[in-house]
């Protein structure tokens, strides 16, 4: 069985045909009504984003599909691109009509270079079939898509850093506002959406907002694609309705008995077993889809060490709270491992983490302390007063 049952049952191009029969405001209205929120992590309402870009006046606008997928534990965008690239491109084309853009760019991470031949072939076929190009399916819609390869930087998943890379600069996030919907690629209004968001939008055009709203919760409508790895019997890609509890999810992947679950990747939260009845939804535990299961044998300090190594490596270095803060937290974890961290210093580190959440320029520095803070909060007995391993 496909890990993506709903995407697999979509009628080819039905969403695009529907969009061609609707006016631009009606397309946006449908997406707005569905309540679809961005699948890249931040959860911004997609209809609203499209509406801002549609309202912006400019000669040129862009639809950018964010396939940078770098969050540790995330791989669902890769599977969506391998199995349902057409649906993603269909979603981009629909977005193009909705906002009045004629150009689309797929920003594909460098690590996924092996997907490129397949994606280029799908694009070529779509041009042949008149799903892309001038006069799409005989209408007056014009839209085409090209692929831009990333060059190995997690930060380029952040939408303004991504745009910097497209423009030929270092991937250093910009101040927001202005937002890309007004001042994006080359200063033009640009919609940046996640791979899954665009595929989901194509489904919504085909099946209607009510169909989507019937799934999930009131505030988090629809289904979500999850990437599940770590200590469970059946890791992989799964489709679940939003609002599923951590416990239900663990049951599906045969990971019961876990010690903790990291929801949202290295930038997310570490949920201890006592909270497994909480739900995965924007109103409770939000996620871009990364779920990492930790079995009883795992040392939470090793986990933090790994995450903080990642952030120290991937911080763009532009602002001090993130550039220095992650190094300080990493050193703190090393002290804890050596059993040499006083309670007073641990409190200082937590205060530092909270400062980073407020003072960092972009989402990387704002969310990198989350795992540290949740482990200190939930696993204090485990991390304090250690005997160093080499004694």
């Amino acid at each position: 069985m496909s890990p993506l049952p709903t995407f697999s049952t979509m009628a080819p191009e039905a969403g695009l045909k529907k969009a061609l029969s609707l006016s631009r405001p009606d397309i946006i209205e449908e997406v707005k009504n569905s309540g679809l929120k961005g699948r890249g992590g931040a959860g911004f309402p997609t209809g609203m984003k499209w509406n801002f870009a549609a309202a912006a006046r400019a000669e040129e606008k862009f639809i950018i599909c964010n396939a940078d997928e770098g969050e540790p534990g995330t791989f669902k965008d890769r599977v969506i691109l391998q199995e349902h690239a057409d649906l993603v491109f269909e979603g981009m084309t629909i977005a193009g009509k909705a906002v009045g853009a004629t150009q689309g760019i797929l920003f594909l991470r460098g690590e996924y270079t092996y997907l490129r031949p397949h994606l280029e072939a799908v694009l070529a076929k779509r041009r042949e079939q008149k799903f892309l190009g001038k006069q799409i399916l005989g209408s007056d819609l014009e839209f085409d898509i090209r692929i831009f390869m990333g060059a190995g930087a997690y930060i380029c998943g952040e939408e303004t850093a991504l745009i910097e890379a497209l423009e030929g600069f270092r991937g250093e996030p910009r101040n927001r506002p202005p937002f890309p919907v007004n001042t994006g690629f080359l200063g033009r209004p640009s919609v940046v959406n996640n791979v899954e968001t665009l595929a989901s939008a194509a489904c919504i055009l085909q099946k209607g907002a009510d169909w989507w709203k019937a799934m999930g919760t009131e505030k988090s409508s629809g289904f979500k694609i999850f990437s599940i790895s770590g200590d469970c019997q059946k890791p992989g890609v799964y489709e679940f309705p939003m609002g599923i509890t951590v416990a239900q999810l663990l049951k599906e992947v045969a990971g019961e008995g876990a010690k903790a679950v990291q929801v949202g990747g290295a930038s997310g939260q570490c949920i201890p077993a006592s909270q497994f009845e909480r739900t995965i939804a924007f109103e409770d535990i939000p996620t871009g889809g990364s779920i990492i299961v930790f079995g009883q044998q795992r040392d939470m300090l090793d986990v933090l060490h790994n995450f903080l190594d990642f952030f120290v490596d991937e911080s763009c270095g532009q602002c001090t709270p993130c550039r220095r803060g992650n190094v300080k937290l990493l050193e703190g974890v090393e002290l804890l491992k050596e059993g040499q961290c006083s309670m007073a210093y641990l409190k200082e580190l937590c205060a530092l983490g909270e400062t980073m959440q407020i003072a960092s320029k972009c989402g990387l520095g704002q969310s990198s302390p989350s795992a540290f803070l949740s482990v200190v909060h939930n696993f204090r007995a485990e991390i304090m007063g250690r005997t160093p391993s080499h004694v």
Partner: protein, 173 residues
Amino acid sequence: MLMTDRERLAGEIQALAEKHGKGRTALIPMVQEIKRKYQKIDSFAMQVIADQLGIHPVEVYSVVSFYAFLGSEAHGKYIIRLCRTISCDMQGKEGVMRQLENDLGITFGKTTVDGKFSLEWANCMGMCDQGPAMLVNEKLYTRVTPEKIHEILEECRRSFGVHATEQKEVHLV
């Protein structure tokens, strides 16, 4: 570098600039293609790219040094990138690392003296359910175990000559 080599490289860079549209947006795609063919971007290449795009060479260096896949240092024909992020870590990347270092006689961050292999760490590469994951240039290997390393390296050695010439033709303008 011989003068003729330099002239050829300059010609290739010029052709790439034509292909990618001479603007600043061409910078990363151009560097990617040069790097793929020559395994490095030296100061001469950066100067020519800068001239073609009408920017200062330090701008080129600034971009090249930012991205993990562009770096100006020379590397081997085969860059082996092993994922060190959490899920691969829990699935045993440490053993794979040791075997790679043993079989190649170099540590991570280094290139073999014959210029064939470089070992580098990578962060999560989107294969977390099938770790440990590893990229050899663009080719992906999953569920890598220490005992599979020898065969993977042999595979590279066997295709060494073929591979190098193949890339020239396929990827340059």
